[in-house]
Symmetry: C2
Subunit: 301 residues, 2 copies
């Protein structure tokens, strides 16, 4: 599988769609790649246009204390990105520069800051919703660059990528109905793009032996669905859309209540914008002008 | 000054334009704030529409080795953001979680990754330009979230913010002419927005005692100009646009040559999109509908 992924990545670089940076999974994007990302994002905006969403945009770093509280370090420590910075005096600076000069590891001397990298676009939303939701709950609309430390030659497994999400916060019935609505919308979205997509029950990549139990429980309860499409591998398709039902996890942690005073349930749907873009190039070829007319029309091309 | 900055920040939060995250200088943005940012960005696109720019978009993290090579840790170690991640086994994970549980500092056990946070949108460009430029050089067009570790109550001094940049790579004559062109364009840009802007010779916030000499030299050679506008303080205006001439610094470091074989010179112009947005709200008030008709027209409102 590794060789096929590298070959596909190298083809995207040759076509000029991705710009290598010397780090696996970290790429620049060309004008056309960006334009495709923006069009895919606009299609999501169209889908939720009449939902009364609250648009919020967060930067790619978030409050470390909030990510700790979310349990991210328990479940996904291996993917986390912690931001550290220099805080020393001129003498410490001279030592730092000497280590840089010698090609040494200067990072041990850097204390952590108050922020970590955002691992999924919805994490910054929950801490802002502490308190009582309006009648009927709320839908937050977010988009941000996300970071996951999983260096890979698979161009569909980037360390830095954009995720557009809608997040539902309400009573369990409304949350489940909203999830079903987006299940159908996601089907229509991939069909409009002429992608060979399949919806599957899925699990998050929980860390360690204990993580295996969490993953099995998540599957048993059907809390996570993914829409998968072949990108770098025909036999091992990649998730391009993910639907997650958190039950009362975030509502309990951050004290989010429905108008009738119960702990709010939450769910989210995430569109992996780079992955959907890559799925289009893989499925329909690297010449965007030659993509099927239906897909081009859906993209507004 | 601190009290005035906090007051202004709190007013922006009350108006719902900025969403606090519990970390100084890290905010969510409202729908209207984002819309203003996008309109300001589109105005920059209009200015460079006929320049034949090469559009590139990089994520908010970059290759650590490239930032080391750029000399960033020598000049601005106190602003840098280094990304670290967990790489231990299940036992180390249990220790990490125990430290999280006790509210301790768990970050010392995290080794650095291969990336750092992007401090200015143009840094990822130079390593991609190693080799010989086309006849006449090149103009790169970039935009990304940038990070600088300088927690502040001044809403105009965010730790995470967006910078739209154009970068000129060519012979010294073309680079200087391009800088003069953008000097005039920047004047027109702020005039169209009805901002009380002033262009001043400036210097970067170099670290330490040695940094004072670097700053003075930068001023003496007039290598950096800033367009400043009052935002959080009337007496201490904030830079919203920055024009920097690097001479052969990046050309030498990354082996960038002009078509006639000389080391390329480079310059960049950066638009601080959040700062220009804040300058508009500060100058014209928090009701966007009541902004001067000229500014509204320039924004396409």
């Amino acid at each position: 599988m590794g060789a096929g992924e590298r070959e596909y990545r190298d083809a995207l670089v040759r076509e000029g769609l991705l710009i290598p940076t010397g780090v696996a999974g970290v790429y620049g994007r060309s004008a056309e790649f960006e334009d495709t990302v923006e069009r895919l994002n606009a299609m999501v905006t169209d889908l939720c246009r009449d939902d009364g969403v609250t648009l919020m945009r967060f930067p790619p770093v978030l409050n470390r204390a909030h990510l700790e509280k979310s349990g991210y370090l328990k479940s996904f420590p291996h993917l986390a990105g912690s931001v550290h910075s220099f805080a020393g005096d001129e003498r410490a600076h001279r030592e730092l520069l000497a280590t840089v000069e010698n090609g040494g590891d200067w990072a041990a001397g850097l204390p952590r800051t108050e922020v970590m990298l955002t691992p999924a676009a919805c994490y910054p939303v929950y801490p802002t919703q502490t308190g009582t939701l309006p009648e009927g709950g709320r839908i937050a609309d977010v988009l941000s660059y996300c970071f996951r430390h999983e260096p890979s030659d698979d161009p569909a497994r980037m360390q830095a990528f954009r995720m557009r999400e809608n997040v539902r916060l309400a009573d369990p019935e409304r949350v489940r109905a909203w999830r079903n609505l987006w299940f159908e919308r996601a089907r229509g979205y991939t069909a409009a793009l002429a992608l060979e997509a399949t919806a599957v029950v899925a699990n998050d990549p929980f860390f360690g032996r204990g993580g295996k139990l969490l993953a099995q429980s998540q599957r048993d309860l059907e809390l996570k669905f993914e829409v998968v499409v072949p990108i770098a591998s025909d036999t091992n398709p990649t998730a391009i859309i993910s639907l997650n039902y958190h039950q009362d996890h975030f509502g309990s942690l951050f004290g989010i209540r429905t108008a009738d005073g119960n702990v709010a349930h939450t769910a989210c749907i995430g569109f992996g914008l780079e992955r959907i873009t890559l799925a289009l190039y893989r499925t329909h070829g690297t010449s965007r002008a030659a993509w099927p007319s239906g897909a081009r029309k859906a993209l507004g091309l």
